[in-house]
C-alpha cells in the first residue's frame, strides 16, 4: 500500500515536471525591423506562412487565391498556405496548434478574442514592426481597439458599423414618418413606444452585452485598464430605463442573439433592428416581403455620440516562426488597396482611411444594401470597437452579460448586482484571467 502511494506520488511529480517543461517560451525576438506594405522583398530563406481566416471559403476563394498569388510573386521565397475555419472552431484550432507547437503565422480574429489573447501575451506586438505611417493608415478608433498597454496586438481588417433598419409598414402604421428617422437613442425609444402602442409589435430586440455601457458613454474599465469603472449612477439609470422598457414591452424582454433578432424582425414582432449590413442577406432570405418594406438609416447615437464598429482583425501569434514575414503579409492583406477590393467583393466596410474615399462607399443606387452601406461607411471615422483595449475581454464580457441577465431577466437588484460584477471583474483583471 505504502509502496503504491509512493509510486503514485512519483508518477505525479514526474508528470508535473513534464508539464512544467511544456511551458511556452514564445517568440523572444526583441524590437523588430519595420515591414513594407506588401512591396517586393525577397525572404532571406524559404518561408511558408500559414494564414487562417474565419468562414471565407469557398465564397471568396478567387479573391484570396489571386491575392496570395500576387503576394508570392512579389516575395520570392515566401509561400502562403491559406486555411479557413468556421467561426466557432478557430479558437480551439488555435489552441491545439499552439499546444503542439505548430502555430499559424497570420490569423483572422474578432476584436474581443484578439484582446483576450493579446492580454495573455500570446500575440506579437505589431507596433514594433509597423511604421508610423502604416499605423495611421487605419481609422484610429478601430486600430486602438486592440492596443493594450501601448502594444498593438492586431491589424484591423474588414469591419462593419451598425445601422438602423426600420419596418416601414409598422412605422407608418404607428403614425411616424420614416423620412425623418430618430437621431438619438431617446428618440428611438419614443418611436419604439409609439410603435408598440399603435401596432402591438415591440420596438426592437437586443443582446445583453457589455457594449450597452460604452454606447451611453459609460466606460467599462478605468483609463489605465486596471479596474472596473462601470459601476456608476449613470449605469444604474441606463439599466433601470432598460428594465422599464422591457416591462412595457417596448424592448423585448429577452437576451436575443443575432439569429433571434432576425426571427423577430422577419416575423414583424419588432419594428426596428440595430445591426450591421449583413443583416440584409438574412432578411432577404427569411422574409422577402419584410425585406421589401425595410429601409436603412444611420444608427441613432446614445449619450456618448459614437457608433460602434464590429471588426475583424489579423494577428500574428507570439509563437509564429516567421514573425517579420507574417506581419508583412498581414499589412499587405489590410492595406488600403486590398481592403477596398475586398469590401467590393464581400460587401463589408474597410478599416483603412483612404479606402472610404472610393465612390463605392459614397454612391447609392437607392437599394437597401446601398443605403445601409453608405449610412454605415459615413460613420466609420467616429467608430470605435466597444472592447477598446480591454484585457481578458471574453471573461469581462461574460461577467457583464451574466450581470445584465440577472437584473433584466431574473429581477435582481441593480446596485447589488453591479457591485458583485464589479468585484468579479476586478478579480479577473488582478488575476489576469
Amino acid at each position: 500500500m505504502r509502496t503504491n502511494r509512493k509510486g503514485f506520488m512519483a508518477a505525479l511529480l514526474t508528470m508535473f515536471m513534464l508539464l512544467a517543461a511544456c511551458g511556452g517560451n514564445g517568440n523572444t525576438q526583441g524590437a523588430a525591423d519595420t515591414v513594407s506594405n506588401g512591396q517586393s522583398t525577397a525572404a532571406a530563406k524559404d518561408v511558408t506562412l500559414e494564414f487562417w481566416t474565419i468562414a471565407l471559403q469557398p465564397t471568396f476563394n478567387d479573391y484570396f487565391n489571386d491575392l496570395i498569388a500576387k503576394y508570392e510573386e512579389n516575395h520570392p521565397g515566401v509561400k502562403v498556405e491559406w486555411k479557413d475555419y468556421p467561426y466557432d472552431a478557430i479558437s480551439q484550432r488555435l489552441l491545439t496548434s499552439t499546444a503542439s507547437d505548430k502555430s499559424p503565422d497570420v490569423v483572422n480574429l474578432n476584436t474581443e478574442f484578439a484582446s483576450q489573447l493579446g492580454s495573455k501575451g500570446a500575440l506579437l506586438n505589431l507596433g514594433e514592426y509597423l511604421t508610423d505611417e502604416q499605423a495611421k493608415s487605419y481609422f484610429e478608433g478601430i486600430y486602438n481597439s486592440t492596443v493594450l498597454g501601448g502594444k498593438a496586438y492586431a491589424l484591423p481588417w474588414y469591419t462593419g458599423t451598425e445601422v438602423l433598419f426600420m419596418n416601414k409598414k409598422l412605422v407608418e402604421k404607428a403614425g411616424l414618418d420614416p423620412a425623418n428617422p430618430p437621431q438619438t437613442r431617446e428618440e428611438l425609444v419614443e418611436w419604439a413606444r409609439q410603435v408598440h402602442e399603435k401596432t402591438g409589435a415591440a420596438g426592437y430586440a437586443q443582446q445583453l452585452v457589455s457594449k450597452l455601457f460604452p454606447i451611453d458613454g459609460i466606460p467599462i474599465l478605468n483609463e489605465d485598464k486596471t479596474a472596473a469603472a462601470f459601476n456608476t449612477p449613470e449605469a444604474e439609470a441606463m439599466i433601470s430605463q432598460m428594465r422599464d422598457l422591457m416591462k412595457e414591452g417596448v424592448v423585448l424582454k429577452e437576451d436575443a442573439d443575432f439569429s433571434k433578432q432576425i426571427q423577430y424582425f422577419s416575423g414583424e414582432q419588432t419594428a426596428f433592428q440595430l445591426s450591421g449590413p449583413t443583416f440584409i442577406n438574412f432578411i432577404k432570405t427569411s422574409a422577402p416581403d419584410v425585406y421589401k418594406n425595410t429601409i436603412a438609416v444611420p444608427l441613432p447615437t446614445g449619450k456618448a455620440n459614437l457608433r460602434l464598429s464590429n471588426s475583424m482583425n489579423l494577428v500574428v501569434p507570439q509563437k509564429s516562426k516567421n514573425p517579420k514575414e507574417a506581419v508583412e503579409f498581414a499589412a499587405f492583406i489590410t492595406n488600403a488597396e486590398n481592403q477596398t477590393a475586398f469590401s467590393k467583393v464581400a460587401n463589408t466596410l474597410p478599416s483603412s482611411r483612404t479606402s472610404i474615399q472610393d465612390p463605392f462607399f459614397t454612391d447609392s443606387d437607392g437599394s437597401l444594401e446601398a443605403e445601409a452601406k453608405v449610412a454605415s461607411s459615413q460613420s466609420l471615422d467616429k467608430a470605435t470597437d466597444y472592447m477598446v483595449g480591454v484585457p481578458s475581454a471574453s471573461d469581462i464580457n461574460a461577467a457583464l452579460t451574466r450581470g445584465l441577465q440577472e437584473i433584466l431577466m431574473n429581477g435582481a437588484d441593480i446596485k447589488e448586482t453591479l457591485n458583485k460584477v464589479e468585484k468579479e471583474i476586478n478579480n479577473i483583471i488582478s488575476q489576469g484571467s
Partner: protein, 293 residues
C-alpha cells in the same frame, strides 16, 4: 499462454483490449493529466507556472462555480422521475397489446436524435411565439406569453424536462431487457397467492429489476451532473446564472477563456462529487435481482 491465467480470462482481456486502449488514451490519461494541470495556471498559449492549491482555494470562493454546482445538484432531481417513468413505460411496452412495437420505436426516437437537433426544435417550440405558449394560451392555462428559457424561474426546469424527454426511451429499453429476463412463473405464483397488478409490480417486478435500477440510476446521476449539450445550446448557462451547470462553467473557463489550470481544478472537484454520489447510489441499491450479486 501465461501460466496461471485461465484461457477464458485471457480471451476476455483480449476482447476488451481495443476498447480499453481507447479509454486509456482518451479518458483515463486526460483525467490523470488533469491532476498536475490543476496545480498550475496552464493556458496553452502562455508560460505555465506552478500555483499549488490556489485554483482550489479560488474555486470555493467563486460564487459562479458554487452556483453551478448547486444547479448541477438540482439537475439530479430528474433522476428519480426519469427512472419511475421509464420503468412504467417499460412495463407498458412489455405487454402484449397490438401496436406495441410502434410505441417502443416512438419512445426510442428521441434517444437516437442528435441533441443539437433536439435542442433547436425545443427552442422553437418554447419560443415566445412557439407552439407551447400558443397551446397554453388557447386552453387558458396561461394569461400571457412566458419566455420559458429566458426566465430564471422556469429555465432550469425546462432544460431538465428536455433532458428527461430525450433520455426516457434509453432507460425504457434497458428496463425492458430487465423485464424480459424475469421468469414468468414468479408472476404466476404471485397471482395464485392473490396479488393484483400493483402488488405484482411492487413485490415481483421492482425487486427483480434492482440491478437494472442501480445501473440506470448510476448513469443517470452521472449524466445529470455532467449535463452539457442542451444547456450550452439553449441557454449557455443564462439568464444570469440560472442554468449554469458545472460542465458548462468548466467549458467556459477552459475552452472559452483559456484558464485550463483552473478548469482542471474545477473538473477534479466535480469528479469527486460524482464519485461520492455514485458511491451513495451503490450503497442504496446493494441487493436484489434475479441473481443476487
Amino acid at each position: 499462454m501465461y501460466k496461471g491465467i485461465r484461457s477464458e480470462t485471457f480471451t476476455a482481456w483480449a476482447f476488451m483490449a481495443p476498447g480499453l486502449l481507447f479509454l486509456a488514451v482518451f479518458t483515463f490519461w486526460p483525467i490523470i493529466y488533469g491532476i498536475p494541470l490543476s496545480l498550475t495556471d496552464y493556458s496553452v498559449i502562455t508560460e505555465t507556472h506552478y500555483v499549488g492549491l490556489d485554483n482550489f482555494a479560488r474555486a470555493f470562493q467563486d460564487s459562479n462555480f458554487l452556483i453551478s454546482l448547486w444547479n448541477s445538484l438540482v439537475y439530479v432531481l430528474i433522476v428519480p422521475v426519469i427512472q419511475i417513468l421509464s420503468i412504467l413505460m417499460a412495463i407498458l411496452v412489455n405487454s402484449k397489446i397490438p401496436g406495441v412495437k410502434m410505441f417502443r420505436a416512438a419512445y426510442y426516437i428521441p434517444v437516437v436524435t442528435s441533441m443539437v437537433a433536439v435542442a433547436l426544435i425545443w427552442s422553437w417550440l418554447l419560443g415566445n411565439n412557439g407552439v407551447v405558449n400558443y397551446l397554453l394560451l388557447k386552453v387558458g392555462i396561461l394569461s400571457e406569453q412566458v419566455s420559458w428559457l429566458s426566465t430564471s424561474s422556469t429555465a432550469l426546469y425546462v432544460l431538465m424536462f428536455i433532458t428527461m424527454w430525450k433520455g426516457l426511451g434509453y432507460y425504457m429499453m434497458l428496463y425492458l431487457a430487465g423485464l424480459q429476463g424475469i421468469p414468468t412463473d414468479l408472476y404466476e405464483a404471485a397471482r395464485v397467492d392473490g396479488a393484483g397488478p400493483v402488488r405484482l409490480i411492487v413485490h415481483v417486478t421492482l425487486p427483480l429489476l434492482r440491478p437494472h435500477i442501480l445501473f440506470c440510476t448510476l448513469i443517470s446521476v452521472m449524466g445529470a451532473i455532467r449535463v452539457f449539450d442542451e444547456v450550452y445550446i439553449l441557454t449557455k448557462g443564462g439568464p444570469g446564472t440560472s442554468t449554469l451547470t458545472s460542465s458548462v462553467y468548466i467549458f467556459q473557463k477552459g475552452l472559452e477563456q483559456f484558464n485550463f489550470g483552473y478548469a482542471s481544478a474545477l473538473g477534479l472537484i466535480v469528479s469527486v462529487l460524482v464519485g461520492a454520489l455514485s458511491l451513495l447510489v451503490f450503497r442504496l441499491n446493494r441487493r436484489g435481482g434475479v441473481n443476487s450479486y
